[in-house]
Structure formats: C-alpha cells, structure tokens
C-alpha cells in the first residue's frame, strides 16, 4: 500500500471499503508517477539546454575569434600602410597617428611641430607641394598626390596623400588633414614597368614605343612654336656579317658600343632611340641644316673607327637618311618613312654616308 495512505489510515483508524481504497491508492501512485516523470523530463530538458548553451557559447566564441582575427589582420594592414596627419597654415604638422612610426621610422613626437616638408627629397615630384598646400588653404580641392620622402634609415618612401580641409565653427579653414598611404612598393613596381615599356633593354635608350610618344610631343611643340627639327635614320652597314661571323652576343655588344659612340656626338636631351635590330633614330631640335650635317658626319666618322669587341677587331659603317619637319613630313610616320627612304638611297649608292630627303627627292 502507498505509504502515505497507510499512515493516513492508521492515524484516522478509518475502516474503508476495499474497492474505494484501491482507487485512492491508484490515484496516489498516479500522482507520484506524474511527479517523477515531470521531474525526470525537466532534468533531461535542463541538461539538453545546458548542452545547447555550451554549444552555442562555443560557436559564438569561435565566431568572435574569427572576426577578431580578421579585425587584427585589417588593423595590421592599416597600421603598416596608413597614417593620419594634420598640418596648419604654417605647414607645421599638428597631428600624426601612431602608425607614422611604422611607415617613416619617425615617432609622432619627433615630427609634430616640424614643417611637413622637412623630410621631402629633391625629387621633381615634390616641386609643387607648397603651391598645392596653399591651394588647399584657399578652400580648393586637390586630387591625391604622391610625394617622395626619406625614411629615418635613409631609404626612399613614396607616400600618397589624400587631403581635405578642416573648418572651425565659423567655417574658416584652419587645418589640412588627410590620410597618408605608403605606396613605395607599388610605385617602384610601376616605375620598373614604365621603364620596361619605354626603353630598349639592350642599349637603355628609348624604344620604338617611346620614340613615337616623344615625337608626338615634339611635333606639337614645333608646330606651336613654328620650329624645325630633324630626324636621323641610322642603319648600320655590315652588321649582319658581324652577327654571322662573331655570333649574336658580339653583335649585341657592338650595338651597345655604337649607342655609346652616337650618344657622345649628341646632346643629353636629344631624343635617341633604337627601333629595330641595327636601326637607330636621333632627333635634333633647334639646330640648322648645316650643323646637322656636321653632327651626322661626326657620327659616321666615329662609327667608322675600329671596335674592339672581346678579342675581335670589327669594322662597320652606317647609312643615314635625314628628314626635317615640316618640309619632309608633318607627322611621325611620314618623317620616319622619308628618312628611311633617304637612308636607302645611301645604302644603294655605296653606304657610309648620309643624305637629306630634300637632296634625294628635290621635288
């Protein structure tokens, strides 16, 4: 019998019908059963909830860690490539973020209060910086610009500055602030790429692509200023035989020597390009016809002299055609074509000489 029921009967001394007693006892047991099941199920449910809680907490922690890692990676990137700056109307730095140290090697304490131009190099790109800074103080917007400064260790840095004006309550511009980005690596890579696409790898002088670009500019300038210039189309005589006899390597060295000899005869600023195997172009500006003939003659004489390449003694010469703007052509193609034709008249009439287009084609 159910313990509680037994006690109750004992206490009251009641004499109860057996069927009735059986029903009451069943009800007592049912109630116990219900309570036990409820307690058990709540315990199981509570354990499951705890497990779920731990699982979710772990997931949340993992996710937090992941986003922290991403954040750290991002701030690392920012700290090593960006810093913030402000300077006042006297161009004195008033603020720098801590990351300036990571990039320039100078702490912000070393730099704040000094002119922002202090560590600029003499690179031409820095030339107009003061002018531009002044422009900002007049309220004008300027595009991001690149400056060349020296790292504390003496190495070159290229920094891109994106500046904006900072105004006081009266809307007066008081400071210039901005974000500085270290672009040294990409700048150097860009310069290398630029060199590769504009200069002849063997001789280091301009290539065909660069020649065309520069000639365009010279033509525009000459047209505007009503000036003449002359284009010398130089083709070496006997170069193929050198290659065949002594090998391509010797041929390449010869081309480098030829380049040096021609360079000696012209000015530093004269356009000088190699446009094919043994074809060179020289563009001479601001020189009259007579003097051009003189320089050309000197080039020929220099090239005639013996070359000592490795153990070989080599003799070559050159054929040169000269086209003069604008009478021999008003654009690059026409000038090159006509100089080429003039050069071929020399090739066909004994080589080692030069001629002006006007001489070969008087019309």
């Amino acid at each position: 019998m159910h313990k509680l029921l037994k006690r109750q009967l004992k206490k009251t001394g009641a004499n109860v019908d057996e069927d009735f007693l059986a029903l009451v006892e069943q009800a007592y047991e049912d109630a116990d059963d219900d309570r036990k099941l409820l307690e058990h199920s709540l315990e199981v449910s509570s354990l499951e909830m705890q497990e779920l809680y731990h699982k979710l907490a772990k997931q949340a922690q993992e996710q937090l860690k992941l986003s922290e890692d991403k954040y750290n990676a991002l701030t690392y990137e920012l700290r090593n490539h960006y810093y913030f700056y402000s300077f006042n109307k006297s161009f004195l730095l008033t603020y720098l973020s801590d990351s300036v140290y990571n990039i320039t090697g100078y702490s912000k304490e070393e730099l704040v209060g000094t002119p922002f131009t202090q560590h600029l190099t003499s690179h031409p790109m820095n030339a107009n910086l003061n002018k531009l800074a002044t422009k900002i103080f007049t309220g004008k917007k300027i595009a991001p610009l690149i400056v060349n400064i020296l790292h504390k260790d003496g190495s070159n840095l290229f920094i891109e500055l994106s500046s904006f004006g900072v105004y006081d309550d009266n809307k007066h511009l008081t400071n210039v602030s901005g974000i500085a980005r270290d672009i040294t690596q990409e700048y150097i890579a860009q310069q290398k790429l630029h060199h590769l696409s504009n200069y002849d790898a063997l001789t280091g002088i301009s290539n065909r692509h660069s020649l065309y670009n520069q000639l365009e500019y010279i033509i525009v300038d000459s047209k505007r200023n009503k000036k003449n210039f002359s284009l010398l189309f130089i083709d070496l005589d006997g170069f193929k035989a050198v290659n065949d006899t002594y090998g391509h390597k010797a041929g390449d060295i010869l081309l480098q020597h030829v380049t040096q000899r021609i360079q000696k005869q012209i000015r530093q600023n004269d356009l000088f390009a190699r446009i094919g195997g043994d074809e060179f172009i020289v563009v001479l500006t601001d020189i009259d016809r007579e003097f051009i003939s003189k320089i050309t003659q000197e080039i020929l004489q220099n090239l005639e002299k013996t070359f000592h390449i490795k153990e070989h003694t080599i003799h070559i010469s050159a054929s040169i055609g000269i086209a003069t703007y604008p009478q021999d052509g008003e654009n690059t193609d026409a000038l090159l074509n006509n100089a080429d034709k003039a050069m071929y008249t020399i090739k066909n009439s004994g080589k080692n000489s030069f001629t002006h287009c006007t001489d070969t084609n008087p019309s």
Partner: protein, 379 residues
C-alpha cells in the same frame, strides 16, 4: 429528431426502442477493441435496427454522458425527421492510399444539400493527414467534416470500424447528413504546451520520423521517458510532438505517436511530419487538459437552438486519457456541463480526431478533445 442512448457492459442497461428504426435513423456505436466482449451486443444492435444506417468504431475507452467505460458498447440512436442520411465505405489496402480513399468517399457523398460528414476510420492502417486532405479535395468547403480514428486501448495492435454490421479492419466509413434542418457544430482543443529545446526534423518520410537534429528520434523519446520507455509506444503519448507550421507563425500542430520501430529507431506519428520541420516536445497536466475540454464546448455554435434533443459526439485522444487517468471523466463532465440540458454525449477515446480548422476544410488533430454536435430543427 428522436434520440436514445444505450450501454452494454455484460448486459444492456435498458431495452431498445425499435420504433426508431427507419431509413432516416443513424445508429452510432463505439465499443471495445476486444471484439469477443461485444460480438453479441453488436448483433443485438444490428438486429434491432436493421433498417437504420449503423456506423461504429473500436475505442481506447467508450464515452457515455460523463462516464468513461471500458470493454463496453455505447450506442446512440438518432431518428431524423427530415434530414436524409447516406453511408459510404471504402477499403483501405495500405496507408499510402489514404488520400485517394478520402477523395473517393467525398465523391460518393458530395451533393448540393450535403451539410455534414461524420467519418470513422481504422486507427492504425491509415495516414490521417492524407485522409483528411483527400476528403477536403472532394467535399465543398462549407460542409462540416468531423470524426475520428478508431482506438485499441493503449496497445496499438488492431482497430475496427463497422462495415455491414461487422467489425472490420482496413476500412473507412463516412455518413453524410443532408437537408436544411440539420444543425452541426464543432469544437476542438488540446491543452498541450511545448517544452524543452526546439529541434529540426533531419530525417523523415511521410508520417515516419527517423531523426531530430541528427539524433535517432526514438533515443530522444526514451531519454525523456526514463523508466516509462518500456511502455512505448503508449507512454510516448505523454510527450506528443509539436510541429511548427511553416506557413503560419505561432501555429503548432500536435502529433501523437502511433508506433515505434526499434531496429530503425523511428517513430510513426498519426500525421505527416515533413523534413526540416521545426518541432518541440509537448507536455500537459490535468488542469490544462480539463480546461481545454471545456473550451472545446465553449466553441460550439448553438445559435437558434431552442430545446431540441442534441447529440454531442465527443472524441478525445488516448494520450489525454493516459495523462488524466482516473480524472479522465472530469473532461467529460467539463464538456457536458457546457451543453444544453437536453443533450446526450456519446463518444470514444481515439487514435486521432478529425475536425474543421475554420479555414481549409477538415484536418487531423491529435491529443485534443473534439466535439461534434447534431440537432435538427422542425420542418
């Protein structure tokens, strides 16, 4: 409408009034799943009401007025004045045919003057959800469809419905009520609350569930039932599965256990539970269940009712009886208290209840008290 009720427990409580026997008489019987106990009584009924339409089903407990009976037969005899009635029966070869059978029954009964359909189905060899969907497909949405799935105590072994006066498994019977004067009301309430963590059905097929959150569903039930796990599947009724409605936020359909498979660690539920459904275990207590039963009768529409005889068919789930135990009759008292004085309550504890949802025809319910009231106004 004339209405008498009878009860057989080893003997009849009173003599039949055979004057009610007619082609417009509906005899409803609910009896023990142990056929031996009621074979003679059933023969008495079929003999006495040979012109009437007789429908019936086995139970997990018979309901008469506010009493719960076991191993008995309860009978309601309703002679309609003007209401026409028609019976339709279909054999259910396997549960996969449930939709088709529902549709066939509907097509047999559907006509313009159809007011209501009362369905009794085999309780084990059927997919109750599909059956109701089949009925909805063929019956006009204005028609009230209600009924239940036959029970078999708490043993889940074999159920029957009456076909030509004989107890038969694998059948679904339905009776249609036609005419303007029949008034049919309905109400259905559960009283179960979700508890514990929400889970996702990760493996299921129709009404068989294999895994929740990647764990075998049977293991989860055993863990929760503790000592009572040995009484599965019956003890599983203490924790029905609440299935969140994917379309209607906050709506939960209660699904009850019909069978378990120890090898596959699966549980067969009374209705379909699609993959990826969100589910939760449910529990209840005596007070919640009795309150819900009362609410089911509060929901009955008795507008225009005056003092005519009224039949209330109460179909309650076996799961409720297992929780309420000796207090099961309190839910019968609760429903009867709310009904007019001239009411007769007959019914049974079932393996599933069918009742309108108010929106899309009828639906299978589990673990509810479901009421269907019938009364007829004068011509």
């Amino acid at each position: 409408m004339q209405l008498h009720h009878y009860s057989f427990q080893e003997s009849w409580n009173k003599d039949f009034d055979t004057s009610l026997d007619s082609s417009q008489t509906l005899v409803i019987v609910f009896g023990s799943s142990d056929v031996r106990k009621i074979t003679q009584a059933l023969q008495d009924v079929t003999r006495a009401f040979s012109h009437s339409i007789i429908i019936g089903a086995s139970t997990s407990g018979e309901i008469l007025m506010d009493t719960l009976q076991e191993e008995s037969l309860v009978v309601a005899v309703v002679k309609f004045q003007t209401t026409q009635i028609r019976l339709a029966t279909e054999k259910l070869h396997n549960p996969e045919d449930s939709f088709e059978i529902g549709e066939k029954l509907a097509n047999k009964l559907q006509e313009k003057s159809l007011k209501s359909v009362f369905v009794l189905s085999d309780g084990l060899n059927v997919n109750g959800s599909d059956l109701t969907h089949g009925l909805n497909a063929g019956i006009h949405s204005d028609v009230i469809v209600s009924g239940g799935l036959a029970g078999d105590g708490a043993t889940f072994s074999q159920t029957w419905v009456l076909v030509d006066g004989k107890t038969s498994s694998h059948y679904v019977t339905a009776v249609g009520l036609y005419g303007e004067n029949i008034h049919v009301g309905y109400g259905s309430e559960g009283g179960w609350d979700i508890f514990g963590i929400q889970r996702v059905v990760t493996k299921s097929s129709h009404n068989v569930v294999y895994e929740l959150d990647g764990q075998p569903v049977l293991d989860i039930y055993k863990k929760y039932l503790g000592e009572k796990a040995k009484d599965l599947p019956a003890s599983g009724l203490l924790f029905p599965l609440g299935v969140y409605d994917a379309k209607e936020e906050g709506k939960i359909v209660v699904r009850t256990i019909l069978a378990i498979d120890e090898d596959e660690k699966s549980i067969t539920f009374a209705g379909n539970i699609p993959m990826q459904s969100k589910v939760c275990l449910m529990k209840s207590n005596n007070d919640r269940l009795i309150d819900a039963a009362q609410n089911s009768s509060n929901a009955l529409d008795l507008q225009n009712y005056t003092d005519e005889p009224l039949l209330n068919i109460a179909i309650s789930c076996i799961g409720r009886k297992l929780v309420l135990k000796q207090r099961a009759e309190e839910e019968l008292e609760a429903t009867l208290e709310n009904l007019p004085k001239n009411s007769t309550q007959i019914g049974f504890y079932s393996y599933g209840e069918i009742s309108p949802t108010g929106l899309i025809g009828c639906e299978l319910h589990n673990q509810t008290m479901t009421l269907t009231t019938l009364w007829e106004s004068d011509a």
